[in-house]
């Protein structure tokens, strides 16, 4: 049973906008090869993209690990900081600490985390100021 899954792993570099989104599109490419319903592929791709972009914009970098199992898909996003001070607030639609420059790039609407919550079955965030952020998302198949 332990072997019955696919593990995909990605390194995320802070502020590397040229490569931002590569993890999400690679996961999408793999899922389209599998027996996963199209709307689930889309949900995973969108949620993961939001999480990945957040790591590029707000964090100092980290890793994304995706586990594709027969009954669920798990995405683990882990970065090295600076962390989220108030998670409840960060979850609110429209809340963003993005800088002017980032906003001019089209990000910073404060919709990323709310979208992640909407698209996955389970979202768990562990974070705090000065520490890294660990996000686990689960999508049930």
């Amino acid at each position: 049973m332990l072997n019955d899954h696919i593990h995909l792993s990605y390194e995320i570099v802070s502020e590397d906008f040229a490569r931002a989104g590569e993890a999400a599109s690679d996961v999408k490419r793999v899922l389209k090869k599998m027996n996963v319903k199209p709307d689930i592929v889309r949900k995973v791709a969108i949620a993961l993209y939001e999480g990945e972009i957040n790591m590029v914009i707000h964090s100092l970098g980290g890793t994304i690990d995706v586990y594709i199992m027969p009954n669920e898909i798990q995405m683990k996003l882990e970065d090295i900081g600076p962390g989220i001070e108030d998670i409840d607030k960060a979850m609110e639609e429209g809340y963003s600490t993005a800088s002017e420059t980032i906003r001019n790039m089209g990000f910073g609407a404060g919709m990323g985390l709310p979208n992640m919550k909407r698209y996955v079955d389970d979202l768990d965030i562990k974070s705090g100021l000065g520490q890294g952020t660990r996000i686990t998302m689960r999508v049930i198949l």
Binding site: D4, H5, K28, K32, K33, M34, N35, V41, R42, A45
Partner: protein, 433 residues
């Protein structure tokens, strides 16, 4: 029909088994096996990229020969708007229409005329379906096929209005029956196509049961005949006015033209298959918001860049622009008198064809993908194409699907031979001692 029908074919005698087409194909539909290119038809979207790239002209589009017109008593030509862009100093589209009559057609019906009706229907459709924005054009059959095999989430965004060709064919047939009293099977509706995609779409329709088009000619194939015909009549006065379309209609021939006909600015138009794929990826991920309409053309420049056209697509676009100059916005004679009817919309669902899927269920998919990764580790990752697959990964997937073997990789075979010769050497060395 389970397998897609494709008008793209291989002329085996000309194929040298090089890797140009397998590398260019946007859906990875081609493999070289036994030194010949093979099209996996269920992956083919009839875009014609392989026809464009093949240095030996081994890839071609099938179409009907001119001689096949003879089976009909009454023949109606349906010129695609891109046809007007193939000639120099035309002055007016009417010359081409009269040229077609001079060539032996009994009547002409401009696809651009029907396109104006489709534009009007699309404007209305967008207004009534704001919950499904952005809506995606279905005029280029290659795009619809691509969405069908690779972007199933976007199927619901497709505009279910029949294509201008099919609408023109329906109206032309009706008119011919009324004018001649002939039975429908005596009437030949003949489309002059810029591309294999539209040939495929006539033979294996999308969204409808059957097209009213009876024959499809290739623009390239009739070009010289039509040119002669145009020269014969170009100095004639008082040619009959056969035109049915204005600016909106003929603009459909180039990219951005269809979108322009919506008289709104809230659209995106992309052309060239690789650009289109990027847009579709973004659309699927909901990265493109606040747009009403997406026009996508597989060919660079739109249909004027079709692989069966003759003129350079950039010049062709200039020519369309020049032709538009003295035209009305649309020829309301057509848009006004034709009523909206059910046949103008798709009657058949567009189904997702999961051709890329490995495995019939999740367990199988996982196992097969794991196997792909294991096999991939043995390959050098050069994507050299010598194995006949477009990439190492594609070969690994073919192996897992049971369609190829590891020995297709020349690097694996080379290493094997190395090892073998080493063994033999050692064996010989032992003997001498």
């Amino acid at each position: 029909m389970d397998n897609f029908y494709t008008a793209v074919r291989l002329e085996e005698g000309l194929c040298r088994g090089c890797i140009n087409c397998i590398k260019r194909c946007p859906t990875q539909a081609i493999r070289v096996r036994n030194s010949k290119a093979v099209i996996k038809t269920e992956f083919c979207i009839s875009c014609g990229e392989c026809i464009r790239i093949c240095p030996y002209h081994a890839k071609k589009s099938i179409f009907d020969p001119l001689a096949s017109l003879n089976q009909f008593d009454y023949k109606v030509a349906l010129p695609a708007p891109s046809l007007y862009a193939q000639f120099n100093n035309l002055g007016s589209t009417n010359l081409v229409l009269n040229g077609l009559i001079n060539m032996g057609f009994d009547d002409v019906f401009e696809v651009s005329g029907a396109a104006e009706i489709v534009s009007a229907l699309t404007r209305k459709y967008i207004k009534e379906h704001r919950d499904r924005l952005p809506l995606i054009s279905t005029a280029c059959p290659t795009i619809t096929r691509l969405i069908q095999i690779r972007f199933p989430n976007l199927i619901e965004n497709l505009i279910p209005i029949i294509s201008p060709v099919d609408l023109a064919a329906h109206l032309a047939k009706e008119r011919a029956i009324n004018n001649t009293g002939l039975s429908p099977d005596k009437i030949g509706i003949v489309f002059i196509s810029p591309c294999p995609a539209k040939v495929s779409a006539v033979k294996n329709p999308i969204g409808i049961e059957k097209s009213d088009v009876n024959l499809v000619l290739s623009m390239e194939n009739i070009y010289s005949r039509l040119l002669v015909s145009l020269n014969e009549i170009k100095n004639k006065d008082n040619l009959e006015d056969l035109t049915m379309s204005g600016k909106i209609g003929i603009s459909w021939g180039g990219s951005g033209g269809e979108a322009g006909g919506l008289l709104s600015d809230n659209y995106l138009a992309a052309d060239g298959i690789e650009n289109v794929i990027r847009i579709l990826e973004d659309l699927e991920d909901e990265k493109l918001r606040d747009l009403e309409f997406i026009e996508l053309n597989a060919c660079n420049g739109g249909c004027v860049g079709g692989v069966l056209t003759v003129e350079n697509p950039f010049l062709a676009k200039v020519k369309i622009k020049r032709l538009r100059k003295n035209m009305p916005l649309e020829k309301s004679s057509l848009t006004n008198y034709i009523e909206e009817e059910p046949y103008m919309y798709w009657s058949k669902e567009i189904e997702y064809k999961p051709v890329y899927q490995l495995g019939g269920n999740m367990h199988e998919s996982i196992n097969m993908l794991r196997e792909v990764e294991t096999i991939l580790e043995k390959f050098p990752g050069l994507d050299c194409g010598s194995c006949g697959a477009p990439s190492c990964r594609a070969l690994a997937e073919d192996i897992v699907r049971g369609q190829a073997s590891e020995n297709n990789c020349i690097h694996i075979v080379r290493d094997y031979i190395h090892k073998l010769s080493e063994d033999i050497y050692l064996l010989d060395a032992k003997k001498i001692n």
